[in-house]
Amino acid sequence: MRTQTTLKSALLVGLSCASFAAVSFGIRALLGPPSGDEAAAKLAYLEDHIADYDTFFVGSSVVFRHVVPAVFDARRAELGRPARSFNLGSPGMEGLEADHTLRGLLELLPSDSTATVYFEPTEPKALLIAGQETTERSVAWHDVEATRLALELIPSGELGPRASAELAGHHLRAFLWNRTNYAQGERILRRMLPALFPHQPGGLDSETIASGAGYQALEDSADPAVITRGAAFAAGDGGALAASVAELRAARHRQATARSGDDVRERILRKRQAAAEAARAELVWLVPPTLRPMPFVRRAAAFAPPLFEYNAPGRYPMYFKSASHFDRNHLTRAASEAFSRRLAEDTAL
């Protein structure tokens, strides 16, 4: 009797779960995966325009703000190595999130592609920014692959069991939100009742993406935080830049030390390189002018050249002067254009 009840209960629970999974899957099929930020908007744009481009730049804000596709393409054309480039950079997009975007791009490339993908190899980490564990953006990149890698990368030895379990919980929660369409109601309503939502949610609209091929100068941003940051820098925060450049110079001379999870990180890079080869694309590491020392690049470059690296104040002092900066971390439009020309020349060789 008891066995029968247990079996019946298990069957009902199974049916309920199957029904839940089927409806969740159906909603997801209608809506597509969750989308978070500029990179998601750009990938959505590329779904219809991928054939228009053969060169892609993927990375954080230093890619987004420093690589000007129009300038890059023009210079490459002058040099007889034409390119049709697209900027897939997004503020704060690093590590596993950038890897997620790279995978999305590689999946979009047509089978006869001969694309070149410049990728900023920021270090894949499991740590999440406090308070942003389940933002729409965080949920968006927590697919099966990213969540599995994040769990592998948890530095249990450094964090201790409790913090490690909490971090794993955050990743699993973001993953479950991703799979169950949790808190995606606004997108459902947008799809069902587009008249009620005339404006796109945040980020970039498709016209802006198309006009700059993914690039937008900080000077053109309407974000009040960006405007304030730029004004503060112009008003005299430039002193902080000199200190940061000095720190970068010192840090670049330090050797990267081995850390837990390095094997996973290297595996990720190898896997992406293999995926790029499978998509007939060439993967190139790119470090635009940035104040971060990026020690992980040494490891990436050790087994997978080529690497174009511009976070070297000694070699490229022009990108580390106050006059070239819009704010502490980003170049002005003019400096970004100069850098893009330089990048076109270096990569045309």
Partner: protein
């Protein structure tokens, strides 16, 4: 032991002493200091960094009900400390009710739990309805309500009203949502907890709202305070005094702040006035009195939500005149109307009856599908339950 006055006194002293220390000590010290300074005395404030134990107001009342019921001879003292501990610390309702009485809970522990006897469909449905109220309504509304309360002066008169209305819906969905999830969780484990809300926004008087709002608390105050004070046995004047006192204590129970004291006092005064003008029978009142009851409730909740008395005063002024240009999108008003329509539909019980009537297999399939359809509409900004602070 029944009639043991010493035991009762000790229990009241210990329980209320702990509650008083943890919840009200700093409030009394600060108020006394303010009063002293107002009278021109040089008084130094000596407050303590006390961390309020979560849910202390709830389990203190449960413990008190145990000793008072034993004293009154309505309950036999349990011989099992484990049973008593389970009664006080039963996890589904530990931190925010419903306030369970020993006389209702302890007898349930005498029979064994059998899963076959659990009405799983009813338990799952009540949990799901509570979950929807909390995550799909209350947490979304909290964003708008918090926005207006952050700087009410920047909002127009209409937005002040809208903010107050939204808070009414938020508070109800937050608290009744928790109660229903607690009841559903307990039911899945084979325990019955009393209902805590009975569609208060269809009441036709403020007293009617209180009869349907946080029922286990109002019932507790009725049985252990109002009746202890003499209830309605000492004539009209004494009855009104008792009502006033019970509401005052109700306000203080919610929190150690003058806003809650005034909230309780206001409720008491309004219920007394209502009784004098409209009488005590809610059934005699026509349906438009539903609007009256909601209006009075919405306006008085401003005191409940306000961080301080001056801020409550400013908000009340904003309901009449405000130079603030900011306005809420009119869509929010549609949301409130929608809420009341859904509320009316839920009150009819058709949905619940229809789902409960399903055979197990169709129910299992429908339940899974409903959960999958609900989750996308849950709020991403998960908010703590409002009543956790009490």
């Amino acid at each position: 032991m029944a009639g043991d006055g010493c035991g009762l006194g000790l229990s009241l002293g210990v329980n209320l002493g702990l509650l008083g220390f943890f919840k009200y000590f700093n409030f009394f010290v600060e108020s006394a200091t303010d009063l002293g300074n107002l009278l021109g005395l040089q008084v130094n404030e000596h407050t303590l960094a006390i961390i309020l134990p979560v849910g202390i107001s709830f389990y203190t009342f449960q413990t008190l009900s145990y000793t008072i019921d034993i004293y009154r001879g309505r309950l036999e003292a349990t011989k099992s400390p484990l049973d008593f501990a389970l009664f006080v610390a039963f996890f589904p309702q530990l931190v925010a009710g419903p306030i369970v009485r020993a006389v209702d809970f302890l007898p349930q522990l005498k029979s064994s739990r059998r899963f076959e006897r659990v009405d799983v469909r009813a338990a799952l449905l009540i949990f799901l309805f509570g979950f929807i109220k909390k995550t799909c309504v209350a947490d979304h509304l909290s964003v708008a309500v918090d926005e207006i309360w952050q700087n009410p002066a920047s909002f127009s008169v209409g937005s002040h009203w809208l903010g107050a209305l939204l808070y009414q819906v938020q508070l109800y969905c937050d608290f009744s949502g928790y109660s229903e999830m607690a009841i559903g969780t307990a039911a899945l484990l084979g325990y019955r907890l009393p209902i805590n809300f009975a569609f208060p926004y269809f009441a036709r008087s403020l007293a009617g709202v209180w009869r349907r709002w946080h029922i286990t608390m109002t019932g507790w105050f009725r049985d252990y305070v109002y009746i202890a004070l003499g209830g309605s046995r000492g004539g009209a004047r004494r009855t009104l005094r008792n009502i006033l006192l019970v509401f005052l204590v109700t306000g203080v129970w919610h929190g150690a702040a003058w806003t809650f004291v005034l909230f309780g006092l206001l409720q008491g005064v309004l219920v007394v006035l209502e009784r004098l003008v409209l009488g005590s029978s809610e059934e005699r009142l026509a349906w438009p009195f539903v609007l009256y009851a909601n209006l009075v409730w919405v306006v008085s909740l401003v005191l409940f939500r306000a961080p301080s008395v001056p801020e409550a005063g400013s908000y009340y002024l904003g309901l009449v005149a405000s130079g603030g240009p900011a306005t809420f999108a009119p869509a929010w008003l549609g949301l409130i109307v929608g809420f009341f329509l859904v509320h009316a539909w839920m009150r009819s019980g058709r949905l619940e009856r229809g789902l409960r009537a399903l055979e197990p297999v169709p129910f299992a399939i429908a339940f899974g599908a409903i959960v999958a359809l609900v989750l996308p509409f849950a709020a991403g900004n998960v908010q703590p339950f409002i009543y956790f602070q009490f």
